[in-house]
Symmetry: D3
Subunit: 230 residues, 6 copies
């Protein structure tokens, strides 16, 4: 790891980001081919937020939030800050003051593979955070990491400028170059679901809707009338 | 495991289920002799729901929700769908569309030893789910499991038709044949607590209320006035 | 471990406790030199509560809440009950009735390194609990522990009378003898933050605010304009 | 749960057990249709043991090994003792003396969803144990459970007399009534592997051996020569 | 936490330590009244070591091993170094060189609530370590902690000079002032077991040996002949 | 994720790999600037192996080892197979037959962020595996992943051809382009340690060896003679 901070990065397409923010994580994750999803231990500190933005990335050392301070002034309006860590850590690397600084720059939210604190204040501010833990554990500012280099966050490799989508279901990352293509697929998927949802509501079986009966029979599924017949 | 789906099962007594739904998990679990409780990692996706119903059971493979689709049309009004998995898995096997299908059939809720997604929509729908994780991870439909066979879900063996009770404290399962007897014990327990609660509210010590002072002394508890006397 | 219950303990200074309750966990933890914080698995059963009080301590055996019953009548108005366990355990050692008894005595809340149940009722009562798990698992009353002896709870050694502070960020413990000194430091810290917050809101970089640019350069941080320059 | 101890149970077929012990867990698990496997947190206290025997089952309370004492005299030569627990627990419920008692009765080993202690002595004795933890934590003898009733152990429902197979890969349980049929399938599977292993050793690709190339192509796998071609 | 290193401490009685080392963790833990045991995630890096010695204690920050360096020269022949951490951490704070330094001073081993590295070399040296993880993750030397102050290590409060006993079953800590008394109880316990072991070997039931039949009956245990009789 | 298999990749420098294999994980990890280390849950199935080789990478679906079969014939002598998974999974994706196939091609070992089975046989073969779990759970061959694309394995992004180093301390990954430079730094580090080790063995304090006394004093460390002086 080289201790470096990159000032300028290319950001994912804004229209694609708008689509992602409207559709949410599950749809985008499917459109991406069921990859790019962060581990489910990443949870929002309060329910209801749904955001998408280009990643400004931070590689931090456990128990040290120095690099987050460095990253703040490199953020732009609409960005999402993404923090990975060189070792598993739950310390409260982020709180009210850093959130105030990010908010002043128009940053949409934070995704951090470590801990977060001041969650009551952050909730009142409406500044959304997805983190692996809530912890008041204070951190130091003594060891370098990097800003805007590729980082692994909660099991996903995030490149600066990649599209980060987060909601109550978790966090998914779309590589910057694929954002436009994935946004189209995601929109199509959402459009297709409108009719499907109507049929589900009407009580139609998905076995008919998706033509699964034949495949089930071929795979060997046997129906019996009563438990004793198994 | 035989790949089989059982169409008709016997369901726990409706009156007993009504009692269970009114009294909740903790009381039912005590009345059952402190057994039948699923592991505490099973959490509701939103607070406040309290349900009881007969189990329709699913045995699924990790990352594969095919059998849940098979189970939907075998559910009846008032049922609770219970999904176990052949290996630990947090993938989002269940979401908005399956919930819509279950809701159309009058199913009360879902208990799944795996992940759930679309939690914001499910919360808006008021369709309660108890799961081990929230995850947008998509699943496939390629390997058979079984429906309405005994399954282990979160540490408890569930037979089809068993009474499943779920609230903010977790999930408990009452064997179908014991439902009526346990409902009576649970009701008695709840009735007895009314007077006890009044005495607790009045500040009476439980050591007197439950005659514990003698047993404590006999077991060797020693009271001292100050820390230095230990 | 000696099976003993200590009746009278010295409690942390009430004014210091008032300051702690007003300022919350993160600030107090920093003022204590970043120690005394319980592990982040300790979570409130509902959001929003913020309390501070002197600890009445309980050492319990796994699956056994006998000693909590013993502790209730040794509590005074304003206390916080703190329960440690001789082995990791998530059983629901505490519920509505014990809460009613503690409430009748004016106890502010409970911190328990085990499970809690009846969380819906406790939420309605507004009786705050920080616990490692929510579980309906019933417990027995058969093995002695101790009351008002030092206990380790969620990684922190708690002496009877120590100041316990709890909010949405977790739980911190201030040794009784240090309470007044730490309260002064915490208040100073909070006062200093008022001006800092204003500067953060104005968009000033923390690198300037805290004079970090020189230290970063000295540590070897290199700024580059584009990813290709790394 | 009823506090009961069943004296006489039907045990799985001895010849089938012999086959299981010779073939080991992975093969038996496959022959059973990829089910019946305990969770992978169950580990042997020393490597190399491989056993199979009919289950004598114990349902224990957390931190209480009373029922194991009850079970010992109900065991016969060749049995495997299986202990489940009503709540997650890692206490050292089993040690040298109980092992000496089981050994005196010809019991082959122990499978316990809790902790084990005296592991150095047990290793010297050559008495194999599969457990979820190693812990010296002492237990009490105060609350009843049951012996030779169905118990869930590490995620698997075990009926008294079921065939339990354990080796360095873990533990699998074959329902008693299926033991003979599964033993035949397992033996066939093992026989088939002899030729397969020879072909693997010769460096033949499994894509040819199992005719997977066509299925891969049909599923959409694309081969490219270099990373740049992706 | 005050950043301080205490040069001279009082150490537990050498004869008691000798008894502890001979008898091992399980027996000492029982003699102490079933308390003082570290959590079972503390495992030896290689099997077979059994030690006891007075604790030299270190409170370290996550990812920082500076204080271990400070502690080395404060150790004496026969000591056991005990390292607690202000937050959960698995970084490899300890390796070959520090072990060489401790060995040169006659230190018996290390107990660390964090990670350890160079485990192959440590095994070859025969320098025993009990740790929560094995990890090569390097640490820094930048933030102060303390040496020879009370620390919580793996759930146990350890005072400098307390008796630390460690073997394949885990780690137990005996308060210095109780060491002599506990050693006597432990020896008596071990002596009593000699006769008991003989009776276990002879196949006598523990229900007779410990007179448990009456208590079981009184508690309500019912024996039945066959599963159908439950 | 695109379902693709890349046939030809560039591999890390052989001399650098030789150096890495000789020096082991901890030294290489330090030389890389304390990054690139997989999470410590990755453990060898038997102690003592130490390998280094270029990565052939696999992205697999949970419970599905189809892509590992595809990868085997793309491996060359000296390679290390690295398997990441799109979701956390402990199923036994790898066993004796696949190991036989890899061995026939001269592959040095396997690093898999999932489960491994047949560990007794693998140990006898001397085929080293680092995995997150040991599990006999069988897998299917039904969903595509990819071979020789970048994968995240146990928290580290691995590009095809990167240098993978594994021993008893864990697994570290060196980016292919940095391999030669890092090998030089690692060798220098190892050379420097020879003299250091001699001084440690002689009992010299590291506070003198690394000139830490002044820094400690400046940071505020205070030495006191006795606990009472704190």
């Amino acid at each position: 790891m080289k201790p470096v901070a990159v000032r300028n990065i290319e950001r994912a397409d804004p229209n694609a980001l708008g689509t992602f923010e409207a559709l949410g994580v599950a749809t985008v994750h499917e459109a991406l081919g069921r990859s790019g999803l962060m581990k489910p231990y990443m949870r929002p500190i309060y329910p209801g937020a749904q955001i998408a933005g280009p990643a400004v990335t931070v590689l931090a050392q456990p128990g040290d939030n120095w690099m987050i301070h460095v990253a703040v002034e490199l953020c732009r309006k609409g960005d999402v800050l993404v923090v990975g860590c060189t070792a598993d850590n739950t310390d409260g690397m982020f709180g009210e003051l850093l959130a105030t600084g990010l908010r002043a720059r128009g940053v949409k939210g934070l995704v951090i593979d470590a801990g977060c604190r001041d969650v009551k204040t952050l909730t009142q501010m409406g500044f959304p955070v997805w983190s692996r833990a809530i912890s008041a554990k204070g951190t130091v500012k003594s060891t370098l990491g990097a800003v805007n280099v590729p980082v692994v966050c909660a099991g996903v490799n995030v490149e600066p400028g990649d599209a980060v989508v987060a909601d109550d279901d978790g966090v998914v990352v779309v590589p910057r170059r694929l954002a436009v293509e994935v946004a189209q697929k995601a929109q199509k998927r959402a459009d297709d679901e409108v009719e499907k949802r109507r049929r589900w509501e009407a009580g139609e079986s998905s076995l008919d809707m998706y033509n699964m009966r034949e495949a089930l029979a071929k795979a060997g599924l046997r129906y019996v009338d009563r438990p004793e017949d198994v």
